[in-house]
Point group: C2
Chain length 234, copies 2
Amino acid sequence: MLFRQLFDADTSTYTYLLADEATGAAALIDPVLEQAERDLKLLRELGLTLSVVLETHVHADHVTGAGVLRERTGATVVASSRGAPCVDRTVNHGDIVRVGGLEVRVLETPGHTDDSLSFLCERRLFTGDALLIRGTGRTDFQNGDPGQLYDAITRVLFTLPDDTAVYPGHDYAGHAMSTVGEEKQHNPRLAGRTRADFIVLMNALQLPPPRKLDVAVPANRACGHTPPTPSLQA
Amino acid sequence: MLFRQLFDADTSTYTYLLADEATGAAALIDPVLEQAERDLKLLRELGLTLSVVLETHVHADHVTGAGVLRERTGATVVASSRGAPCVDRTVNHGDIVRVGGLEVRVLETPGHTDDSLSFLCERRLFTGDALLIRGTGRTDFQNGDPGQLYDAITRVLFTLPDDTAVYPGHDYAGHAMSTVGEEKQHNPRLAGRTRADFIVLMNALQLPPPRKLDVAVPANRACGHTPPTPSLQA
């Protein structure tokens, strides 16, 4: 498997490129609108065909490149059935998304948002904003729920082998990856905390709203396109 | 081998952690002063002992964490004999630096600076500011020399197998890694250019001075410590 981690410095967002070298079929997980040209150039240089765009959830902190990449390549946009209505295929827990000969397994990991998915491909786990390195996604909007997030992390992600590599949707401290074993042991929001402790902690965070919330959520429900202004004569 | 890529967003600098899991011995390549606590915490959490700090060169755009890490861990600081006088061990082309059971091979790749080294460990090539992803280091100060850089890249780095992974000292576009084959084919400063072309190109760049040049070079010659003020009575 060809694998690349890409970063958008403005929003500290990670995008991931997975490809089956035998067929040249590629997937991008959580592409960023402003990086679409960079990502298309890399695909061209590596001789890859974008077959699938996977969205971990409807993002509130950046605008997705999914729609633009679909227009430019014909790729299929895949997300949760509780996610953006613009997608081509909705998936549920346990579903497999094929990228050439690669199999990407869908894991439902709600709690940051109600549509949050993680993706597992050959011992690499892409956790979106559910599990971050030494942190978790927040749970205070988009139907977030700290109890649900605790369950998703501890009952789904933490049951994977300890050496499973963890690739999050963001990092703000310069870490690129972790492992399931490391996060079980060292994640300060989770290690040694009960479900009740976690709920108290998350509900007390008092975080400022994400910088791009008002723009990003409606845009991302349209795969990154600004939704048309509703007719005044409706 | 345990491997981690770390990023300093303020200076777009990559630091690399390599470790021999059998012995717990670790090396950091190009640590950044402001990230020393992050790096020490990660070493502790992973149960590693910092044995070596490797410097690719005397940096002009950030201050090294080498000196602080040496004080805190007893690690040996390693660099070129043409580099900072503060180091514990100087190395030359072809030397091996042992990190537990790992072997890191030293490659002299001058031209960005006269002391620039690259390091090779198990098909991972750490190129400092000699070879960047789709770019190269600049050659207009610290005894930089475009002809020398062209030779270092084409006669040393590009003779390694095409699938050798390239990990640079910086990236400004969100790329994390490349390969020797990719850079041979797609690096716009090198692909299809003669040595003479490259010299003309580099000499015409007219780049502004690095933001931290005046502070970073003297500090890095002291492994990240501000050099003492010279006595007025000398």
